[in-house]
């Protein structure tokens, strides 16, 4: 029972990690919260669904397609809703409000196009094979989710720390001005970061759509909230924090359901936010910030 729940929690949590990574990448580089990230996730799920249902492509091709489409959506978001704000000095609330606008726009656009009812991937998208490992029963979907999430996370880590572009992203995250001085085209790096974050969100959408077998326009808001909870839990702009924080939230939710309070599953994320703010506001893995003088 315990081990089974742990595997379920890890699977759920790895999708939270993917979503939270998107938040944290943008937070790290732009120092803003992209409130539309949840809707990018929803968009990815619909793209994946469309590719499988109408173009009859293989589920893995659909995932790649969802990543590309979401990355494009991210680029659009950066160019229309974020870049115009950077040109003039406005309050920190402006990008927050602007991306809230994008999120509500996208959600209602999806409602107009797809309707409020939830849709499912066809039964054959990933066969219902189950493996029995000792006391644990693990489905193929779970294996795919775990494999892809962890795979992407490690590739991302490696890419950020070892490649030239990855280093440019990290320099930009330290300070946009310094990066500019060093000859880094920061606008390009920001565009790349938002695209990358959105691609991660998009594939997470397909993975979650597969695992709960439901894709609906409102899935973005609740997932967005989970991602934000993980962002605070792990520490803002902290990549390791986002990865581990997601797993912690996933496991916490699964155990909350397993041991009784199933209807309060969605309250766990909020509980974690408040708890962290009280006891460790910089997040589990974050460093305490200095002043801003």
């Amino acid at each position: 029972m315990f081990w089974q729940q742990l595997v379920n929690g890890l699977t759920l949590g790895s999708t939270y990690s993917l979503v939270a990574l998107g938040y944290t990448l943008i937070m790290g580089v732009l120092n803003i919260i992209n409130m539309a990230h949840g809707e990018v996730f929803m968009f990815g799920a619909f793209v994946g669904l469309f590719l499988v249902n109408y173009l009859k492509v293989n589920i893995f091709v659909a995932m790649a397609g969802a990543m590309v489409a979401s990355a494009l959506l991210g680029i659009l978001l950066e160019m229309l809703a974020l870049r115009p704000l950077r040109r003039r000095a406005v309050s920190d609330l402006a990008p927050l409000i602007s991306t809230i606008g994008v999120s509500i726009f996208l959600e209602n656009l999806a409602l107009k196009i797809f309707g409020p009812q939830s849709q499912a991937f066809p039964a054959g998208a990933l066969s219902g094979v189950q493996l029995q490992l000792g006391p644990i029963r693990i489905t193929l979907v779970q294996i795919v989710i775990l494999g892809i999430s962890f795979g992407l996370m490690f590739v991302l880590r490696f890419w950020l720390s070892k490649t030239r572009v990855g280093k440019a992203i990290r320099t930009t995250a330290e300070s946009i001005e310094t990066a500019n001085l060093l000859g880094i085209n920061t606008n390009k790096i920001i565009l790349l970061t938002v695209a990358l974050a959105s691609a991660l969100g998009g594939i997470a959408g397909v993975l979650v759509g597969l695992s709960i077998n439901a894709v609906e326009p409102t899935m973005g808001l609740s997932m967005g909230l989970k991602g934000l909870a993980v962002l605070i839990l792990g520490g803002m702009g902290n990549i390791t924090g986002a990865m581990l924080g997601g797993l912690i939230l996933g496991i916490a939710e699964v155990f909350t359901v397993a041991y009784g309070a199933s209807s309060y599953r969605d309250a766990v994320a909020f509980g974690i936010i408040i708890l962290i703010l009280f006891i460790r506001p910089q997040g589990l893995f974050g460093k305490r910030q200095g002043g801003r003088f």
Partner: protein, 313 residues
């Protein structure tokens, strides 16, 4: 006269007024530069508290509405204290999460009647008419009972809104208002000048929650029915867009924003279908081109100068 007393128009004006009160609630929190995304949540706490008190415990409305506000305000302190010691982003996230969790709790509690919501809430109009008829006043010359009660509701709402405007203007020109404005302008400089920024941010947040809670209580008594869906995230975004469109420098901003955005779907039938999409697009456009909203301090200064010159000529 008939046009003014038209049931339909009265209803719209009532919605405008309730939305204007909600606009003031978000203005209050924004006056320290903090963004609360929990106003729909506070509204629902006010609405449910108020409805439960009047329907199940038989409280009079004029007591239940402020109690609803106080309940929302109390809860706001619990969320606000940890979040407001930090920078603004934390409050936005915590209140967003809070709005969702309130919805989950309301769905699961027995006293709130879950997804079914609470119905049979006595409307404000009936209450007032009853009160008046007990004084022997049932109708004013030529008006139907329905018209009378609607008019009275209107008067009550206008009175509440006017009081809020009075409250905010007085506050702005006082020690507390200056503290709010200084925090909005530069939080760390304000703290270095001896202002307990956490306290004042919390105060503005709790006042905003109180107003939202009261607006919730009022709207419960205007619509006969409340359910968890009435207070979803979209309601918060709607309230926020009042302040974004009208501007949040001056109290008149969100009130004008509420007026314009509430009238929009009435004037433009096709707009009602795309209402939320319009709100979303509006937010992006405003932030890019006019982040201070339609009415800012500069706008007022500009028109004052312009009109002043005309008077001199």
């Amino acid at each position: 006269m008939d046009i003014i007393l038209n049931q339909y128009y009265l209803q719209i004006v009532i919605f405008v007024l309730v939305n204007a009160i909600l606009g003031v609630s978000i203005y209050m929190t924004l006056s320290t530069g903090q963004l609360s995304l929990g106003n729909a949540g506070f509204m629902s706490i006010g609405a449910y508290t108020c409805a439960i008190l009047t329907v199940k415990a038989g409280f009079p409305v004029y007591l239940a509405v402020p109690i609803g506000g106080a309940a929302a305000s109390f809860i706001s302190l619990i969320i606000g204290y940890p979040a407001l010691r930090l920078t603004g982003i934390y409050l936005a996230i915590a209140t967003l999460g809070f709005g969702e969790v309130v919805r989950v709790i309301i769905l699961n509690l027995k006293i709130t009647n879950g997804a079914l919501g609470i119905s049979g809430i006595p409307t404000l109009g009936t209450k007032i008419s009853k009160m008046l008829s007990s004084f022997g006043l049932s109708r004013f010359g030529g008006l139907t009972a329905q018209q009378t009660s609607n008019l009275l509701v209107l008067v009550v709402l206008i009175f509440i809104l006017a009081f809020l405007v009075f409250f905010c203007t007085r506050l702005n020109r006082s020690r507390v208002g200056r503290a709010f404005a200084s925090i909005k302008a530069d939080e760390s400089a304000a703290e270095a000048m001896g202002i307990n920024t956490t306290y004042y941010k919390l105060l503005a947040f709790a006042l905003g929650a109180f107003i939202a809670g009261m607006a919730g209580g009022l709207s419960a008594h205007l619509t006969f029915f409340i359910g968890p869906k009435d207070f979803a995230y979209h309601r918060t975004v709607e309230i926020l867009s009042f302040a974004v469109l009208g501007g949040s420098d001056l109290i008149i901003g969100p009130i004008v924003g509420a007026l314009l955005l509430t009238m929009l779907p009435e004037l433009l039938r096709s707009a009602s279908e795309y209402r939320l999409m319009i709100y979303g697009a509006l937010m992006v456009i405003m932030m890019a081109f006019r982040p201070q909203g339609l009415i800012s301090e500069e706008t007022v200064r500009f028109w004052k100068r312009k009109l002043g010159r005309r008077i001199k000529q």
